[in-house]
């Protein structure tokens, strides 16, 4: 970060109590006129010490709390914890469980992407879009509730597979939900992408330079908005993604507009993937036979596992030491890169008016940054 003396400036705290900030964090900015000269992110307002908590909980007790790490999209956390521990313990999960996990992950991505699209419009004062997209997200949450019993936190993916099989007639109702979302998409396009003011506000704003991508480990829509087809589902495939047909959406403006475009394309791809899963899902058991959870011990080992969340690459670093508890877990969410170093790098030269739009365009998720 450049530490240079500023002659005339106003110091401004954006957050933690600020409607334009994502979640509960704060950005300290030094402004000259309307232009930000220097910015620093401050986090810790949502810190719960998850990494300490999982160290003193058994594996089966650890899995319901990790989904709290990212509230809009909890399933990626559940998948990474369970899959990482399965890898360390050498458990193979049944084929149907893999498909069901992919289904849940993709549904969660869809819900989070739809929400982010509305959030993006909401930061610019377009109040109609968030109202609609939150409702669309709510329809997906209804399906989640049917599947797992939970609206926001699902705790559906469990060691060895998933917690239960899909209910009777689930796919028909899911198809109906997808149709509802698809019907709404043209109207959303009309409101967002055909909107002259939205174009003016987002094009050329919040530039992420393409050379930063490899250097900083930028991923997800932020990287894909710079024209780099980085998608963990494609480049480092997991679960049944290799068997599925989908496109990696890219745009090459490097600005908020391209990230929004990528997100819009992601919605369609997610719907396409979910349809494929519904068609191709095999029969069979949904969960492997597992050892007694109260006595389950995993041999010493360490691993780093990643998956594509709606925001980018989500990684879990896990260390086991032969006991029945995790030795260490560290969560490297996409926001860990996007929210601190990248945001601080983007802030100088930005207009105050564009700060929250820039943050939301990268979907920074504070609970994932501080856990």
């Amino acid at each position: 970060m450049t530490e240079r003396p500023l002659e005339k400036h106003t110091q401004l705290w954006v957050g933690p109590q600020h409607p334009g900030i994502t979640g509960n964090m704060s950005v300290q900015i030094w402004v000259q006129g309307d232009t930000i000269q220097l910015g620093r992110t401050h986090v810790g307002y949502l810190h719960r010490g998850f990494e300490k908590l999982v160290e003193r909980r058994k594996f089966i007790q650890a899995f319901p709390i990790v989904c709290r790490i990212c509230v809009p999209e909890p399933d990626t956390n559940e998948y990474l914890l369970t899959a990482g521990l399965e890898e360390l313990a050498g458990i193979e999960i049944p084929e149907r469980a893999k498909w069901l996990r992919t289904l849940v992950l993709e549904l969660a991505r869809l819900a989070a992407t739809v929400q982010a699209l509305g959030g993006q419009a909401g930061t610019l004062g377009l109040g109609v879009v968030p109202n609609w997209t939150y409702t669309l997200r709510d329809y997906i949450l209804d399906r989640f509730e049917e599947l797992s019993g939970g609206r926001v936190y699902h705790m559906y993916i469990i060691y060895g597979g998933v917690r239960r099989d899909i209910p009777e007639g689930f796919f028909e109702r899911l198809e109906g939900t997808l149709k509802t979302i698809e019907e709404r998409l043209p109207a959303l396009d009309n409101l967002i992408f055909d909107n002259a003011v939205f174009q003016k506000r987002t094009q050329g704003v919040g530039i992420v330079k393409p050379e930063w991508i490899d250097e900083m480990g930028i991923s997800g829509p932020t990287a894909r908005g710079c024209g780099r087809p980085i998608d963990i589902r494609r480049v480092d495939p997991y679960l049944v993604y290799p068997a599925l047909d989908f496109d990696v959406i890219t745009a090459d403006g490097c600005d908020i507009w391209s990230r929004t475009l990528v997100r819009r394309g992601d919605i369609e791809q997610s719907i396409k993937i979910i349809r494929q899963i519904m068609r191709q899902i095999p029969d069979g058991p949904f969960c492997a036979r597992l050892p007694n959870m109260l006595h389950w011990k995993i041999p010493t080992g360490q691993t780093y596992l990643r998956a594509e969340a709606s925001r980018g690459e989500m990684g879990y670093y896990m260390v086991t030491d032969g006991s029945d508890k995790l030795r260490r877990m560290h969560v490297r969410g996409p926001s860990y890169v996007h929210g601190f170093s990248l945001l601080e790098r983007m802030l100088p030269g930005l207009n105050i008016a564009d700060l929250s739009a820039t943050m939301v365009s990268m979907q920074t998720c504070p609970p994932e940054m501080e856990r």
Binding site: L124, N195, D354
Partner: protein, 308 residues
């Protein structure tokens, strides 16, 4: 005796304007909610809000100017409203008009905001000066097309009095009917003024002053409780005064309460229909907008009048 009666009737008219302004605010919230797919609050919700903020207690004190800010705003709005005729032909509802009152009216439009600017600066919150800066810059920008439109109207009617401008339109209406309105007589001036009205009403895309995700509520950040109620009522009266002025300048005034009601309602809703589905401009984009086509239309209107 007549003066006393005039004052009493004007005060009642002011109260009616307040009630009408609040109701219209409720209607706006309802319409916005409907567009967003919600049921929305009841139409009388602004009255409850106003009552509630009156029944709050505060201990905040930021100096004399801070207290005077909303008072100036209310005074500016009330003065603005009382100077212009509401219903032409009904005694005591023609306002305290005199020749040249249009100049004072345009001054009053600025006055309330300037008072708020001074008061908000006393609040000490950094969002206030940023919001004030944005607001004054935008105001200067939309005053230009509006001023040009007013110049065109004044040149065509030959008077600086709102009342006489209405009379002029009524005379034209005798021969041309509805086409005698300035709206149709001076189309370019109307374009300039109605685009400027979008900025005056502060609905999207021009709500840059209190932009909630950028500088939450801007100048009004520190104003709570009774100050907020003064501000709410000032805003309601100001909104109505603006549409009444526009009705007088462009829509040939009103001769009955029903006519005034219909005309003002549609002028008010014009900025809602435009703004409901737009995001917000950045400040400099907003200023550039007003200095672009609206100003060109205003210049054209003045040029046409001079050429004619």
């Amino acid at each position: 005796m007549d003066t006393l009666l005039h004052v009493i009737v004007s005060l009642i008219s002011l109260m009616v304007a307040l009630a009408y302004g609040l109701t219209t605010g409720g209607v706006v919230r309802k319409i916005m909610a409907r567009i967003q797919g919600r049921i929305g609050p009841p139409v009388y919700q602004p009255f409850i809000d106003l009552g509630k903020v009156l029944f709050l207690r505060t201990g905040t004190h930021h100096g004399v100017m801070f207290i005077l800010g909303p008072v100036f705003r209310l005074a500016g709005a009330a003065g603005f409203y009382l100077l212009i005729p509401v219903i032409v032909g009904v005694p005591f509802l023609e306002g305290f008009h005199f020749s040249g009152d249009l100049l004072l009216v345009m001054y009053f439009m600025f006055f309330g905001s300037l008072g708020m600017a001074l008061g908000a600066a006393d609040g000490g919150h950094p969002h206030s000066p940023i919001g004030v800066g944005r607001g004054l810059a935008q105001m200067t920008a939309y005053e230009l097309p509006f001023g040009l439109a007013v110049v065109a109207i004044v040149a065509s009617s030959g008077s600086f009095s709102v009342f006489e401008i209405v009379e002029h339109q009524r005379a034209a209406m005798l021969t041309k009917g509805v086409l005698g309105w300035n709206l149709f007589q001076l189309p370019f001036a109307s374009i300039a003024a109605f685009l400027a009205l979008l900025g005056m009403n502060m609905y999207p895309p021009f709500n840059i002053v209190g932009a909630p995700t950028e500088i939450p509520v801007g100048p009004a950040t520190e104003y709570n409780t009774a100050f907020q109620s003064l501000q709410m009522s000032g805003r309601a009266i100001f909104a109505i005064a603006k549409v009444v002025l526009f009705m007088n300048l462009f829509l040939g005034g009103a001769h009955s309460i029903l006519e005034a009601f219909i005309k003002t309602f549609f002028i008010y809703m014009w900025s809602i229909f435009v703004g409901a589905v737009f995001p917000r401009f950045r400040p400099e984009q907003s200023i550039r907008f007003f200095l672009g086509w609206p100003t060109a239309a205003g210049v054209l209107a003045v040029a046409l009048i001079l050429w004619r």
